[in-house]
Amino acid sequence: MNDWPLWEVFVRARRGLSHQHVGSLHAPDAQMALRNARDIYTRRSEGVSIWVVPASEITASSPDEKDAFFDPAGDKTYRHPTFYNIPDEVQHL
């Protein structure tokens, strides 16, 4: 039985955190995918919420486009907010 579709699984570890991709699995439909995810990825109390997404619905950037996509950002250090002096009086930043 290799005809079950592939699902990507996202688990939120705690309230306040965002869902993180943890892996993938096979399941016949979304409801069973959620249950399989519960059994495979949260059996050691890893999460409080699960998302499953059909892997076929994910549009991914191509490794071939890596240079065009990501390299131009490499030498633009001014985009990092490291050139501002933070006054001593400012707290909780």
Partner: protein, 255 residues
């Protein structure tokens, strides 16, 4: 000769529930490496481990109530067939995945009704075990429900197999709701749950699922009985031989 005649009603009751969980756990464990999908393999093993945890707590409690120094291992591995008090529904062979699903639906729906009520038991240890276990079996019931719906209301082959699976399991359903005279005193003391009050809610749930799955509630071809008295089916001896042989060959072995 059975050593059980001396047990009081409460000990006998707890032992029966522990044996249900233990033997059902063993049957689920038999699916490991054999399930139709890797994901289902993990799921069935998880359900089995939940039940093993319940069995350990219940057998430990039964051993303490008996007061003869028997721990969970002594009760699980050193009793013979006639001293096991589980319902026969948990010991019948797994069959195909549809038989396993049909058994899981009937048994987990019963365990859900049982533990819900047992959480109010006058025996505090038993109540605590039940309160924890009811969350586990709620998931077991859901898992069995999901598969019953998908097999029954899916392909023609799935429907045929699921209907056949229900037919295999149904002769063992009545026994679940048969009052056991040996534990009647525990019901009277508020320790045990009266099985007869659980039938109607069980029927509503299970028949509802079978209906929704476009399946028919089967007529039982015969009526099994005797598990709570230590009477078991042919397959029980084989199950115990596999479950107990390591402990009996190497007493006290640990890992």
């Amino acid at each position: 000769m059975s050593s059980l005649t001396a047990l009081d009603a409460r000990t006998r009751y707890v032992l029966g529930l522990g044996d249900d969980a233990l033997i059902m756990s063993h049957r689920l464990g038999e699916w490991i490496t054999r399930a139709p999908q890797l994901e289902e393999d993990v799921a069935l093993a998880n359900l089995g481990l939940d039940l093993l945890g319940q069995a350990r707590a219940l057998l430990t409690h039964a051993g303490a109530l008996e007061g003869a120094g028997r721990d969970e291992d002594a009760l699980a591995y050193r009793r013979d067939e006639r001293d096991f008090l589980n319902l026969q529904i948990v010991e019948i062979p797994n069959g195909d995945f549809a038989v396993t699903t049909a058994r899981a639906l009937a048994f987990s729906a019963y365990q859900f009704e049982l533990y819900t009520r047992l959480a109010e038991s006058s025996d505090e240890t038993l109540a605590a075990i039940a309160a924890k276990a009811v969350k586990e079996v709620a998931y077991h019931r859901d898992h069995a429900t999901q598969w019953t719906l998908r097999l029954g209301d899916g392909t023609e082959e799935g429907h045929r197999r699921m209907q056949a699976g229900l037919a295999v399991v149904w002769p063992y359903v009545d026994e679940i709701f048969e009052p056991d005279p040996n534990t009647a005193a525990a019901v009277h003391d508020g320790v045990a749950v009266d099985v007869t009050v659980m039938y109607e809610p069980w029927r509503q749930y299970v028949h509802g699922v079978i209906d929704e799955a476009t399946l028919a509630v089967p007529e039982a071809s015969f009526r099994a009985t005797g598990g709570r008295q230590g009477i078991h089916t042919e397959s029980m001896g084989y199950l115990l031989a596999e479950m107990q042989h390591l402990h009996r060959a190497h007493p006290g072995a640990t890992w």
